[in-house]
Symmetry: C2
Subunit: 357 residues, 2 copies
């Protein structure tokens, strides 16, 4: 909250309306699914509805709690308007819909309708969230380790003929038993030619006797997301399957090795891309190299071509190059990597050499 | 798509930009997580990125597919601007952020920046989605039945001393095995005094020897969400616990009995609320009576106090009154109900008399 207030002052704002739930959780600890937070330089108030009254008063730190029967966000805007000394309050235009902003303005008295609210120039809270403090890094390390434990367990479970969804079901079940609150995104289990779908949902299709199997999954633990991908082989890979795997692995490891404070995100992406280009696989790598991760599965920074923003100590990003050959097979390898003061720390210690089952 | 085009014509629009994923799925069948659709009176084009190229061409109906390397929504807006005869294109202000709209406008040539895009007056596609056709009703009936099967299975699994999360884990595992793609929201397992939290997340807390246990869960199957709640009792309930349960059950059944085409949503809410008011429990019922459900877990219509919109045949809503006595206990009972041409059909046949385990 203190760091946010410094940023508010620097941006010439006397307050901020926060409605994006991960931002709320980050700033005041509230974990429910409906609330709005108004922050001024001196005060903060969380508005929520009757379903969350008790939970909000138990969880919320550094803000007063008000239970309202109408829109929490409108109540937050009206509270803001009534604070003495508040002239200009920011809101995040990325998390405020056009319709919502119209409702907020309609609830303000005429003279404030045009003057009170201003879109903040960049994602103010998300930028704070991008740099994790030590407590957060502990939680993220735990989440990533739980992911690795899950990978070990699922390797022992996989049998030929099993349906992709059975693997997803077992993985998610074990995740719960290991203390996950849920999965951070829809589990990807894509086998055979389906591994060429970068986001292949698990289907009822039985595993082929031979072919790649991509597992891309993440858990949520204490609010923080993990994200990892491993591609394994069922049966014996052919020489060209092995060599494409090696190319992806080299691209991944090369990109990981460039992760360090002060490095441009675009340069990390290029590190992976240049390896695949050398192997004639540039076209087959159809997405960015990675993304920030934390309370949300996708957060700043974006590790993509041309991104000029620089990595900072405390950022946690995924490094996940892939190659997708439509109708044939696909391979992706992904770790979570924390940017350290010097160098980096890989949060996903699971092995990456090609596993043959 | 045809019904949408009629609505566009009626609203004086020559096109619509669609970015909300459930709307996309509804209109053209695409199930990926990143795309935008541009619809004119004569043509439709889906824009997505490289990760979804193959999937989009397999799934998409009634629209051309274009894979783009930059923003899919910006590409859709630019395509729209280039269509002959398109003067005014709508977008849904509830699903378009202030930042996104600014990006769209910045990508248009100067003269179109002010004139091309207009917020549609109400949720155009969501309103179509609110009324389910026969195929959708079959899928929703299946999803709701799967929910009931899950409830039966979990009843057999629950044992005293078990942690709430174990129950959630087993429920979610069984859901997968029954063909669910995932859960439609975070499973609620709230026991003892925690049942007074309307949205009590499952915790590691062991079940008490006596007390209420609320299970509120939903699955996603073929894209459609189910939603049901049952509150059971562990041990022997006291007379007052029994009588509050009866009051909630009466409120729920009374509200269900009012569901019919032409009835105002606010009147359905009032049917439940008036029963609880009579029992002196009005204050303890701190949320709305229900909501529409379909491709999303919360859709129009809202079954809340004062809502004047009317139920239409084909709508599917939840009816879920509850009573929450902080520090003591809570009870909620929820069914999915389809509005028929005459009367209604309850999609959740699981028993509602108080179960004592």
């Amino acid at each position: 909250m203190r760091a946010l207030r410094r940023r508010l002052t620097r941006a010439g704002l006397s307050g901020l309306i926060v409605t994006h739930l991960p931002d709320l959780r980050y700033l005041c600890g509230f974990t429910g699914s409906s609330a709005a937070l108004a922050v001024t330089r001196w005060r903060a108030c969380l508005f929520t509805d009757g379903r969350y009254g008790q939970q909000a008063s138990e969880e919320t730190q550094a803000a007063k709690v008000e239970v309202v029967t109408s829109s929490a966000a409108v109540a937050a805007v009206q509270w803001m308007a009534a604070q003495p000394g508040v002239r200009l309050a920011g809101f995040d235009p990325a998390w405020t819909s056009v319709a919502e902003l119209a409702r907020w303005k309609a609830a303000l008295p005429g003279r404030l309708r045009r003057s009170l609210l201003a879109a903040v120039p960049g994602p103010m809270v998300e930028r704070l969230r991008a740099v994790k403090d030590d407590d957060e890094l502990v939680l993220m390390t735990e989440a990533a380790r739980t992911g690795c434990t899950l990978f070990e367990r699922i390797l022992k479970y996989i049998r030929p003929g099993m349906a992709e969804v059975e693997i997803a079901a077992e993985l998610e079940h074990q995740a719960r038993l290991l203390g996950a609150e849920g999965m951070s995104f829809e589990t990807i289990v894509a086998s055979g030619a389906r591994s060429a779908l970068p986001h292949g949902r698990a289907t009822g299709i039985p595993l082929p006797r031979r072919g790649f199997l991509t597992l891309d999954f993440g858990i949520i633990r204490n609010g923080y997301c993990s994200d990892m991908t491993r591609t394994i082989f069922l049966g014996k890979p052919r020489a060209n399957e092995r060599s494409v795997y090696q190319a992806v692995l080299e691209a991944q490891e090369t990109a990981v090795a460039t992760v360090a404070a002060g490095v441009r995100c675009g340069d990390v992406d290029e590190a992976a891309r240049s390896i695949l280009r050398r192997e004639g696989l540039a076209e087959a790598f159809s997405h960015s190299t990675g993304h920030g991760v934390g309370l949300e599965i996708h957060e700043p920074p974006r590790i993509g071509a041309g991104q000029t923003s620089k990595l900072m100590p405390g950022m946690v990003v995924t490094i996940e190059p892939g190659v997708y050959l439509a109708g044939r097979f696909g391979i992706r390898i992904e770790d979570m990597v924390a940017v350290a003061r010097t160098g980096r720390q890989i949060l996903t210690p699971a092995p990456k050499a090609l596993i043959e089952l």
